[in-house]
Amino acid sequence: MQPEHQRPDGPTPPPTTEPTPPPNQPGPQGRDPQDGPDSRGQRDQQYRQAPVSAPTEGGAQGGGASIHNIGYRSYEGTRLGRGYARRSLFAQSLRGGYGLGRSAKSKVMPMILAAVMCVPALIVVAVAIATSDIVRELSMDYREYATFLAPVIGLYLAAMAPQSVSRDLRFHTVPLYFSRPIERVDYVLAKYAGMASALFVFTAVPLLVLYAGALLAELDFAEQTAAFALGLVSVAVLSLVYAGVGLVVAALTPRRGFGVAAIIAVLTIPYFAVNTVQVIAWDQGATEAVGWLGLASPTSLVAGFTSAFLDGPSSFVDGIEPSTGVGFVYLVVVLALVAGSYAVLMARYRKAGL
């Protein structure tokens, strides 16, 4: 039911919201959606006339095209604006990270990975409760948990970052987002925040399990709470760094399978390389180099940052921690990585979908 004629003169009607009158009957001028209650009466009148007049006219004149008034109306309610659109996009991205509001199939992967993420925490808790009168601490610290399960977090990011940004690019739906009252910065921020929040939930829930278990086992409250809080800070930093890296890679490689592999490659390969080279450096007695080498992969970067600033145990070879000076380099690199990811995403969406 498309209107078959465009009105030759007068203001162009807003798309799909207004019926176009037949060319020989120019409608009242200035019928914009915002022009107030006065015009509404006029328009309603037209709606009532049109279905009667238009078809008979067309039919009677024999072969002349006719325009049916099917009663489209313009939106008269309040417009919720840019902030609302941004919040919605954020909420949808966060929910999409767990397949909520989507098909059962798309819930499988994130839920399985989230369960895998919690299993070691449950084991640690079970051990802690069973042995609580002998050992007065958890066998795994809150701050080394994420480093230990880095492959699982990497897989989650690899599965979720492409579905968050690649589909929009692949199916050219990005221009539709920008037809709403949001700007490029809103889209990038909402997607970044959504991915980082999904990752934070993913990494913080196991810590919560550990903390609850520690309290159940009646371990020292103050000590556990402090470590838990620092653990949350460390996974927050991890979420920001990972989300940035994952989204940048996903936005640059819109083909699905390829994006997944590329994210895993970017996260895993440098990490394994760093681990291997660190062990070799340590073998050769170059203890100082171990700290510097940790800068070379996202996972060891966050691990080194955690051990340098958040008092966590070091996951590097032989428990070597980065020295204070190198620790500040870690901080700078973390900040640069987050800011850099944001800048690359902003640049990526400058021409998206065109």
């Binding site: 989507r102 599965a159 997944v260 390969i269 681990n275 070799i280």
Partner: protein, 240 residues
């Protein structure tokens, strides 16, 4: 059982554009590390084994296998262009076998060769370390390609599942549960390396050579056969 046209198309799909970049980035990184270690004069047999087993064989080979194995068929099924291939008078197992050949060749070229070169850079011909790991990588790449090609026909999330297997099963569970290591392509490859390498070099596999050979053959043949069956009754479905 081998169709040159399908092979040519698959080579082009695998090595076209940025895929070739990521494929060659990994071997390049291995070679850079090998050269750096050599220049720092830190290269001895133990270091070479550490680098070649924990980085090259455990990380690089599976990831290249995932990219080549699923990349040989996954994208075509994903975007539906596989129907143009399926509508040609070709037996579907032929398509699978051809694609397997291509995937194995690509995985071998991008993993076996660099490992051989990296091994020679590190320690030369000492104790046949370079040759042993190159052979292990070649053996592993056959099984990985068959496995991941099968995954590509089974699920649309082949890359993720392939990586779950390669990273979680082989790396994470394998380090806790000994049983998991028996069912690990990486260990089968190591079993071969263990046999080739000279005495006094610390290369140990969780499985014996005979078991490894049998499992390798079974996985490759059964995986290829079942992939052919899957392709025979492939249903093209929409996006989720």
């Amino acid at each position: 059982m081998y169709d040159p046209t399908v092979a040519r198309l698959t080579y082009r799909a695998l090595l076209g554009r940025r895929r070739a970049l990521i494929l060659s980035a990994l071997p390049a990184l291995l070679l850079v590390i090998a050269i750096a270690v050599r220049l720092l004069d830190a290269a001895d047999d133990a270091v070479a084994v550490q680098l070649l087993s924990s980085f090259a064989l455990a990380t690089m080979v599976p990831i290249i296998g995932v990219i080549a194995g699923t990349g040989a068929i996954g994208p075509e099924i994903d975007d539906g262009s596989i129907v143009y291939l399926l509508s040609k008078p070709l037996k579907r197992p032929t398509i699978i076998v051809t694609k397997l050949f291509v995937a194995v060749a690509v995985t071998m070229a991008f993993s076996g060769l660099p490992i051989l070169v990296a091994g020679f850079i590190l320690v030369g011909g000492s104790q046949q370390i370079a040759a042993a790991f190159a052979i292990a990588a070649i053996v592993a790449s056959i099984a990985y390609s068959a496995l991941f090609l099968l995954l590509g026909t089974v699920t649309r999330h082949a890359v993720v599942f392939g990586l779950v297997y390669a990273l979680l099963w082989e790396a994470l569970f394998g380090s806790f549960v000994d049983g998991a290591r028996t069912l690990s392509v990486q260990q089968w490859g190591l079993a071969v390396a263990e046999r080739v390498v000279g005495d006094g070099v610390d290369v140990t596999s969780a499985v014996g050579l005979t078991t490894a050979a049998i499992l390798l053959a079974v996985v490759t043949v059964a995986g290829t056969w079942y992939a052919g069956q899957r392709l025979k009754r492939l249903a093209l479905t929409g996006e989720e």
